[in-house]
C-alpha cells in the first residue's frame, strides 16, 4: 500500500519536475511553500467531498451521481440559514442535520429499490436526482450568485509574505478535513459499526446471515455519505461561489479522485485527493490553460500502471 502511494507520489513529482524545467519558470522557495500549502488545502477539501462518494461506492456498490448535488445542497442550505439566523455554527448544524435526514429519506424511498437493479438503472435514477435538485435550487433559492461571510472568529490572516497573508479560515477548513479523515479512520477501523461496514463490503449475504440488519446499515452508510458531501459544501461555502451548477463541476473532480485512489478505498481517496490538489495547483501556475487537462492525464497514467487505482481493494 505504501508502495502504491509512493509510485503515485513519484509519478507526480516527475510530472512537476518536467513541467518546471520545460517552461523555465522557477519559483522561489517561498512561493513553492505557499503553493504547497494551497495544494494541500485544496486536496483536503477534495478528499472530504470524495470520501462520501467512495464510501457509498465501496460498501453498497452504488455510484451516486447526485453526490455533487449533495455538496450543492449543503452550500445553499448554509447560505439560507446564515441569511436567516446570522450564526455560522447554528446554520452549519441545521444544514448538516437536514442533509442527514435528506440522505435517509432518499435511501429509504429511492435508492433501496435499486440495489438489485443493473448499473444503468442506478445511473439513470441518480442523474434524475441531479436534474430534480437543480430545478429545486432554481425555484427555492433563485439563480443569482450567493456568498457566505467568513465567521468573525476565523476572519483573519496569518502574514505570509511582505504583501500577502494566508487566510485563517482556509487553515480551519484544512483542520476540519483532517479531523473528519481521522474520524472516518477511527470509526471504520476501530468500532463495531466500522467492522460491520467492512464486513458488508466484503460479503453482504454472510453478514445478513449473521443477523446484522443490512438494510439499516446501508441506510446509515448512504446517509453519512450524503452528509459528508453536504458538510464539505457547508464549510467551503465562505470560500466558494454558490451558483447554479456548482455540484456538477465538483462531481467530475470527485470522480477523478475516486478512480485514482481506487473505488471504495477511503485511504486511496485521501492520497489521491492530496496528489490531485498539489498537481492541479502547481500546473495552474506553470501551464494555466492545461490545468484542467493535467488531472485527467495523471489519472490515465495512474490507470496505465495500476488499473484498479492506487489502493484498490
Amino acid at each position: 500500500m505504501l508502495f502504491a502511494g509512493g509510485q503515485g507520489g513519484l509519478l507526480s513529482l516527475f510530472i512537476l519536475y518536467c513541467g518546471e524545467v520545460s517552461l523555465g519558470y522557477f519559483m522561489t522557495a517561498e512561493l513553492i511553500i505557499v503553493q504547497v500549502l494551497n495544494g494541500i488545502q485544496y486536496g483536503l477539501l477534495l478528499f472530504l467531498i470524495a470520501s462520501g462518494l467512495t464510501l457509498v461506492l465501496g460498501v453498497m456498490g452504488i455510484l451516486n451521481l447526485a453526490h455533487g448535488s449533495m455538496y450543492m445542497v449543503g452550500a445553499y442550505l448554509m447560505w439560507y440559514f446564515v441569511t436567516v439566523t446570522g450564526s455560522f455554527t447554528v446554520s452549519a448544524a441545521l444544514s448538516a442535520t437536514i442533509a442527514l435526514s435528506l440522505g435517509i429519506l432518499i435511501e429509504r424511498v429511492l435508492i433501496q429499490r435499486f440495489y438489485n437493479r443493473n448499473h444503468l438503472d442506478q445511473v439513470l435514477v441518480t442523474i434524475g436526482m441531479i436534474l430534480v435538485f437543480n430545478s429545486l435550487q432554481s425555484i427555492l433559492f433563485g439563480n443569482d450568485p450567493y456568498g457566505v461571510p467568513v465567521p468573525d472568529a476565523l476572519d483573519g490572516g496569518i502574514p505570509l509574505t511582505n504583501n500577502s497573508t494566508y487566510a485563517v479560515y482556509r487553515i480551519f477548513v484544512a483542520v476540519i478535513c483532517v479531523g473528519i479523515a481521522g474520524l472516518l479512520y477511527f470509526v471504520i477501523g476501530r468500532t463495531r459499526l466500522g467492522m460491520m461496514i467492512r464486513a458488508g463490503k466484503s460479503n453482504r449475504e454472510m453478514v445478513e446471515a449473521l443477523g446484522v440488519n443490512i438494510k439499516s446499515l446501508y441506510t446509515i452508510v448512504f446517509a453519512f455519505g450524503v452528509m459528508l458531501a453536504a458538510i464539505a459544501g457547508i464549510i467551503a461555502s465562505p470560500i466558494s461561489s454558490i451558483v447554479p451548477g456548482m455540484g456538477e463541476s465538483v462531481l467530475i473532480t470527485c470522480f477523478v479522485v475516486v478512480v485514482i485512489g481506487g473505488m471504495g478505498s477511503i485511504k486511496g481517496a485521501f492520497i489521491a485527493a492530496l496528489l490531485v490538489g498539489l498537481i492541479s495547483t502547481f500546473f495552474s501556475i506553470l501551464m494555466p490553460s492545461m490545468a484542467n487537462m493535467i488531472i485527467y492525464i495523471f489519472m490515465i497514467l495512474v490507470l496505465l500502471i495500476k488499473p484498479q487505482g492506487l489502493f484498490a481493494k
Binding site: V34, N38, G147, G157, L160, S240, S241, S280, S289
Partner: protein, 389 residues
C-alpha cells in the same frame, strides 16, 4: 368591352384587397423570438435581460398599442450546441420578425451562423463577442449591449494615469476573457505600460488561490481582470482574504462587480471597474427606469436588465416609426440604424457595425455599491474590425 373591363377591375380589386388584407393581418401581430439562458449558470443575466425586454414591451402596449406582440421564449441553457437548432426553429417554423438574444457569446456565434444575411432582425441584449459587430457583422444584426473591447479598452489609459506601470492580467480562456485582456493591453501598452504576466484559466475554473499567491509573489503595481458572476465574486473574496486588497490595486472590466456585489460584501471595497453603466448614474431616464422595474419585479435592475430593456426600446421605436408595418425588412433595418435610444445608461446611437456608441464610466465600489467616479471614455465606438458594412 366595358363590362369586361369592369369585371376585370372588380376581380383585380378583389384580388388586391384580399392580398393586402392578408398582409395587414400578418403584420398586425408582431412575432418576437427570445433566446435567453433561463437555467444553469447564466440564468441570472438571462432572466434579467428577459425582464428588461418584457418591461419595454409592456410600455409599448400601454403607450402606442397598434400591434399584438406574440412572444416565443426559448431557453438556450447557455449551450452553444443548441443555438443553431433553436435559431432555425424561430426563423423557419415560427417565422419571427425579431429575434432577441442571447446572453452567452458562444450561443451568439451559433445564432449568427443561422441568422446572418436574413430578413429577420436579430438584437443581441448581452453577448459581447467582437465578431458579432465585427468580422461577422450583417445588416440585420444589432446589439444593445457592448462589444468585449468597449468596457476594457479605457481602463488601460486609466491605469497609466494612476501611475501603474507593471500590471498583471488574468481571466478565463474564452472569447470575452481574451478579448477583454487584449483591449486593455492595446491602450495600456500604447502608453508605455508593461504587462508583467498574462494568465488565462480554463473556463469556468474558480481555483484562483494558486494565482493569487503568484500575484503576491510577482508584486505588480496593479492587477486587471475579467471575471463575472459567481466566479468574479469568488475572485474578489479570495483576493481580499489573501490580504492583497490593500496592497495591490484591483482593476476590472465592470462585470466583476455586476449582479454579484452582495455575495462579495466588504471584500469588494475599493475595487475599480469600467463599464457602460452604473446603477447610481444620475440620469433622469435611469431613475425612471429603476423605479418602473422595481414596481414591476420587486427588485432593482442590473446591467443585463438595462440592455434587455434597450432591445425592447429599439423594437418599440421601430414599430412606432413604421406604424406597425414590418413587412418591408429593408425599411426596418434603415429605421433601426438611425435610432437614438434614450437608455438608462445615457443616450446612444449605433455604429456602422450596429454596436452602441456609448460612454464608459469609471466606477469604484464604495459602501457596497458601484459609485461613478468619472468618465473613462466618452461616446466610445467599437472599431468593428473586419466589418464590411
Amino acid at each position: 368591352m366595358s363590362k369586361c373591363v369592369t369585371y376585370f377591375a372588380a376581380l383585380a380589386l378583389g384580388f388586391s384587397l384580399s392580398f393586402s388584407s392578408s398582409i395587414a393581418f400578418a403584420s398586425s401581430v408582431i412575432k418576437i423570438g427570445v433566446m435567453q439562458p433561463l437555467s444553469g449558470v447564466y440564468a441570472g443575466p438571462g432572466q434579467s435581460g428577459l425582464n428588461g425586454l418584457l418591461l419595454a414591451l409592456k410600455e409599448y402596449e400601454t403607450n402606442a398599442h397598434q400591434n399584438e406582440i406574440d412572444l416565443i421564449i426559448l431557453d438556450t441553457e447557455a449551450k452553444p450546441a443548441r443555438a443553431p437548432e433553436l435559431a432555425t426553429s424561430l426563423l423557419e417554423q415560427h417565422k419571427v420578425d425579431f429575434v432577441v438574444g442571447p446572453a452567452h457569446s458562444g450561443v451568439a456565434m451559433g445564432m449568427i451562423k443561422v441568422l446572418r444575411e436574413k430578413d429577420t432582425v436579430m438584437i443581441i441584449p448581452n453577448a459581447g463577442a467582437a465578431a458579432a459587430t465585427g468580422s461577422l457583422c450583417s445588416p440585420n444584426i444589432f446589439r444593445t449591449s457592448f462589444s468585449s473591447w468597449q468596457p476594457s479598452y479605457p481602463m488601460g489609459k486609466v491605469a497609466l494615469e494612476k501611475g501603474y506601470r507593471d500590471v498583471y492580467l488574468i481571466s478565463w480562456n474564452y472569447g470575452m476573457g481574451r478579448e477583454s485582456l487584449e483591449a486593455f493591453e492595446e491602450s495600456f501598452k500604447a502608453g508605455g505600460g508593461n504587462v508583467v504576466k498574462k494568465v488565462l484559466l480554463p473556463f469556468p475554473s474558480t481555483n484562483f488561490q494558486p494565482h493569487i499567491s503568484d500575484i503576491a509573489a510577482q508584486d505588480p503595481d496593479a492587477v486587471f481582470v475579467f471575471f463575472a458572476g459567481g466566479g468574479g465574486a469568488k475572485f474578489v473574496k479570495d483576493y481580499d482574504a489573501s490580504g492583497l486588497r490593500g496592497n495591490i490595486p484591483l482593476l476590472g472590466s465592470g462585470f466583476l462587480t455586476e449582479g454579484n456585489l452582495e455575495a462579495q460584501a466588504e471584500a469588494a471595497e475599493g475595487v475599480i471597474t469600467t463599464l457602460h453603466y452604473a446603477e447610481q448614474l444620475e440620469l433622469q431616464k435611469n431613475l425612471e427606469f429603476r423605479e418602473a422595474f422595481h414596481n414591476e419585479y420587486g427588485h432593482y435592475p442590473d446591467i443585463y436588465a438595462v440592455q434587455g430593456y434597450d432591445a425592447g426600446q429599439a423594437i418599440n421605436m421601430t414599430l412606432n416609426e413604421l406604424n406597425g408595418d414590418v413587412s418591408d425588412k429593408r425599411a426596418v433595418i434603415d429605421v433601426m440604424e438611425k435610432l437614438t435610444i434614450d437608455s438608462p445608461r445615457g443616450a446612444f446611437t449605433f455604429s456602422r457595425g450596429h454596436n452602441p456608441i456609448q460612454n464608459i464610466y469609471l466606477r469604484e465600489v464604495i459602501d457596497g455599491a458601484n459609485v461613478v467616479t468619472g468618465l473613462a471614455a466618452e461616446a466610445l465606438e467599437d472599431p468593428a474590425r473586419g466589418c464590411k458594412l
